[in-house]
Symmetry: C2
Subunit: 338 residues, 2 copies
Amino acid sequence: MMTIGQIAEMAGVSKSTVSRVLNHSGYVNEGTRSRVEKIIEDYHYSPSATAQNLSRRETNTIGVVVPELENAFFGEVLAGVAEIVDQNNYTMIVCNTGNNAEKEKAALEMMEQQRVKGVILTPAIGYSDAEAAKSIRIQLKNLKIPVVIVDREIKDVPWDGVFYENFESGYLAAEHLIQQGKKVIGMITGDMDLKHARERYRGYVQAMEDHGLTVRKEYVYEGMYSPDITCEITKKMIWSGDFPEALVLSNNVTTLGFIKGLKECGQELNEQIAFVGIDHIPVLDMIGYQYDCVTRDMKGMGRTAMELLIDRLENPKRERKIYMISCITKFSKGGTVL
Amino acid sequence: MMTIGQIAEMAGVSKSTVSRVLNHSGYVNEGTRSRVEKIIEDYHYSPSATAQNLSRRETNTIGVVVPELENAFFGEVLAGVAEIVDQNNYTMIVCNTGNNAEKEKAALEMMEQQRVKGVILTPAIGYSDAEAAKSIRIQLKNLKIPVVIVDREIKDVPWDGVFYENFESGYLAAEHLIQQGKKVIGMITGDMDLKHARERYRGYVQAMEDHGLTVRKEYVYEGMYSPDITCEITKKMIWSGDFPEALVLSNNVTTLGFIKGLKECGQELNEQIAFVGIDHIPVLDMIGYQYDCVTRDMKGMGRTAMELLIDRLENPKRERKIYMISCITKFSKGGTVL
DNA sequence: TTGAAAGCGTTACCAT
DNA sequence: ATGGTAACGCTTTCAA
């Protein structure tokens, strides 16, 4: 591997000069510049980021820690992050925690060793909110490295964040059903240990109240964001013959479980129960299996997270910012961006 | 940020000693070891990977360059790579090229600067096979850094690779239909500029020949791996009333486009045309929308790629290895792993 | 068992 | 406009 010294020697100049042409910094004679550049070109010289980082006492690297790389949602987020990373000449290190708190800890430690400038993190759900906050807070508080939390809130932590309008999504979903004249509206909720699941539920409740409807507890089912649990719930509902007119479904897998449950009971979509799902499932669109939903721009979420991080890096002392990604409604009348 | 020197000072030892305890190398007295370790612990000291890399003249980093981070397939692959990366204490830098040859070039250059130990690459499809090979070959030939090519073959390149048994997949798909007694079997192919599309087609043709059936060109449609094109093809097929008994569909989006086309014509699955898809679409399973398909272990592909890279790193002079990921058939009788 | 010192490939300051 | 040199934080001989 070539070094700046060798280039200098070949060009008959000093390392300083080579460094200057490399970094377009300081004065350098046009003649020598082009001479040096030619040699760099000819020999395919590529400066060592490692050495640069050490000398500059900083890297241009950011770390992204996600809980489920195999989940299409995070693919989208990562694509969004990558886009901004790219535009700003950063380098992106990625870790997958598999929703495992231990791995998350290890990932963060390694980010620390790598001296990344900042971290974009979606916390694992292997532990409760409070525990998570504590553990991560302790781990990172001594580091000066800024963090942007994505999608899953954790308490008592001073970092910037990008979250969905979860309350809003529940609200809009319920409201749409109300506007269609439904009165008895239930919900299959997510894992109520997660804040966003609670928020979505709150939104639904609020919409009901605002329209003078009452929430009937027997029609609120805890689906745990699990397709299987939701499928079971759905089947029991149908079999028992006791179900609401309409349902709000808490996320994509809830919707999938629900649809599966219906199919297993030989029911068509919207045959007896109207529903609005939170989250869009593109593949269902592709097969012409459309349903009303409230969704959002996942890739945009990644972009925003990275922009927020860069903003923080440029302005370390600024107040905390939380970006709420707004809902996009896709109802049969056609999609609307709110 | 703490340095090894400060730790040394606090412990009343030299940097060398601290380095030794850090790396579990050389002799160090048990007493001093624990003393040093305590200080490291207390102060949350984390050695700088940058400095280590420079001193050791190598990194523990590998680069992954993918063309479509937003595509669930690459999420799976990445998850597989990440798993092995993790187990072997590597660090993973990720770039998304968006199928853009320029960006791919830039990504590779930056990997070079980062002095990654190796690269896992799925080439962009923005350019032809030959061009791609040439461009990438020229770019990387001067580097000693090993590459593992994933999923998309490029010609005349000396690197290890992990690909699917594309021929096999086409063969198995067609054969399954033949075994069900179908005689007039067509295919909606992929983008025939891509080798794997051609291979899948070849497999189909071979299966037909092997079973004494003739391929009728009018039933071979070029779907370009595009859902929209495939949807159109399907609708025309149905409208014209002229279609084969059965079809082989070249990949997941081809299948989606086909299903959509059928639905838009008010047809049920398998109502008039039997089909076998290449690629599995998990979401369709989740809603109980099963169909016969030939698929493979995507995550396993990522794992294999990383294992291959590590293997190469440990054994730089060994002959080239190409791993072919075998097909998994999921037919209504139940899934079989071949 | 420990320490001193050279070296890794850059940058950046200070001279010239 | 250019060069010399210290410094970045660590590893690794070599001596003691």
